[in-house]
């Protein structure tokens, strides 16, 4: 294995907190290392014995920048502290709901620790397997020219515009943005998926009103996404719309000349950024 500190820095590109905590990849990693150091099993006693050490690792955290990365550590630290305090109470007497909650928190912590340890051991198996296989050599040689000539000719179907659209799609971030929705606990809505829904409704059919388009959509996000999808489709000249009076009924008509699923894939790329 390579130098764990350098490795952590290089691989995660992480600044600050991970380095302060030397090379532990998360609170469970640290907890397990501490428990192993004392040659203990994963038990309540083990947890209470390593709590102080665990907390001492956290003292290195001081800036707000690191707080985000430290939150998981702090969560575990809080649980550990609670357990330690509870350990001072008489054993076996469940007095109130708080005690029950604490026991549940403890069991959850144990379960997560055990699960983490299981995956850590599996990871060791992976490391060994990959290491062993990396020394193997497979026959992978260039195809002889006479066979390469035999390959059937490529059938090229993309227009220049298709190709550029494809490039735009390839360069667009692949993930639907998640920032900004997380703290609202609102489900994320994909403009592209909503556009697919809109296209399905409009394509090959007569005019549809926007009211019909959003019928059954019970989330504001979905309605907003469908509206954005309509605007995107309008940009592509795939739909035309008609509104007889301000704030009046909006009627949409499918007008695309060349529409393929690829067009859909590149739709709404602006919103991905």
């Amino acid at each position: 294995m390579t130098d764990p500190v350098a490795e952590a820095a290089a691989v995660e590109g992480a600044v600050g907190f991970r380095l302060t905590l030397s090379n532990f990849s998360g609170p469970f990693d640290l907890l397990l290392s501490l428990i192993a150091k004392h040659e203990l099993d994963i038990t309540e006693i083990a947890l209470s014995r390593v709590t102080d050490e665990f907390l001492s690792y956290l003292r290195g955290v001081d800036t707000e920048d690191e707080l985000d990365q430290a939150s998981e550590f702090l969560l575990v630290a809080a649980t550990l502290l609670d357990l330690k305090v509870a350990g001072l109470l008489p054993q076996g007497e469940l007095v109130d709901a708080e005690d029950v909650a604490l026991l549940e928190a403890r069991d959850l912590l144990f379960a997560r620790l055990l699960q983490y340890r299981a995956f850590k051991e599996a990871a060791a198996w992976f490391a060994h397997g990959i290491e062993a296989e990396s020394t193997r050599h497979v026959r992978a040689v260039r195809l002889e020219e006479k066979y390469r000539k035999q390959s059937p000719d490529l059938v090229w179907t993309l227009s220049l515009g298709d190709f550029a659209a494809l490039a735009a799609l390839a360069f667009a971030p692949r993930e639907i943005p998640t920032v900004g929705f997380d703290h609202l606990h609102a489900p994320l809505v994909s403009i592209r998926e909503q556009a697919a829904h809109v296209v399905a409704l409009l394509r090959g059919g007569g005019p549809v009103t926007f009211r019909q388009l959003i019928a059954g959509a019970d989330q504001r996000g979905v309605i907003v996404a469908r509206f954005l999808a309509v605007l995107e489709l309008y940009k592509y000249a795939a739909v035309t719309f008609e509104q007889l009076e301000p704030l009046g009924e909006l009627t949409l008509t499918w007008s695309a000349q060349h529409w393929t699923d690829d067009s859909l894939a590149s739709l709404g790329a602006d919103y991905d950024a």
């Binding site: 952590a8 691989v11 998360g26 599996a122 990959i130 497979v138 026959r139 639907i176």
Partner: protein, 198 residues
Amino acid sequence: MPELTEEAVAETPRAPVDLERALEAILMVADEPLPLVSLATALGSPIAAVRQSIERLVADYDGEGDGPMRGFELREVGGGWRIYVRPAFDDVVKEFVLTQNPTKLSQAALETLAVIAYKQPISRGSVAAIRAVNVDSVVRTLLGRGLIQEAYTDSETGAIHYETAPLLLTSLGINSLDELPKISPLLVDGRDGFDDLS
């Protein structure tokens, strides 16, 4: 890939020896593991016959017939068959192949890979919940290495779910995910409520 039953492929039966030689020829140009069904299709032979011929070739190269144990072997890895150098000669061969051995995976990447392998398909958020750390950059690394791939995007949450890619099998030298070690014994007492943690 057309669906093929063992019988359906049969068209022009050949003598088994021919089949073995033809298989050798194809294996010489293969650049990925070749499943029995692809071989059978290319050769126009029943899958059962191809399987037997492959088995005979494996034994042949392993020196279990009349000939010597060859410097190469036929291995089933990543869902198909391919010619490999026999491990005893890996060192000798080293300087003749341009191996750009990629940098080793970090501990964090390996652990994340393990979680994805056992819990696939799984979202990044769920992996992060199990590992109790942010896994964004590690997942990017694993994607870039081709060890994992996107399985699907949850239509409700927009969360991308990941699964292991075929390259993982080849990298581990195994033939299917069934060959991963069972993880339940590692969990010792298998406490209740475990599954809903993720």
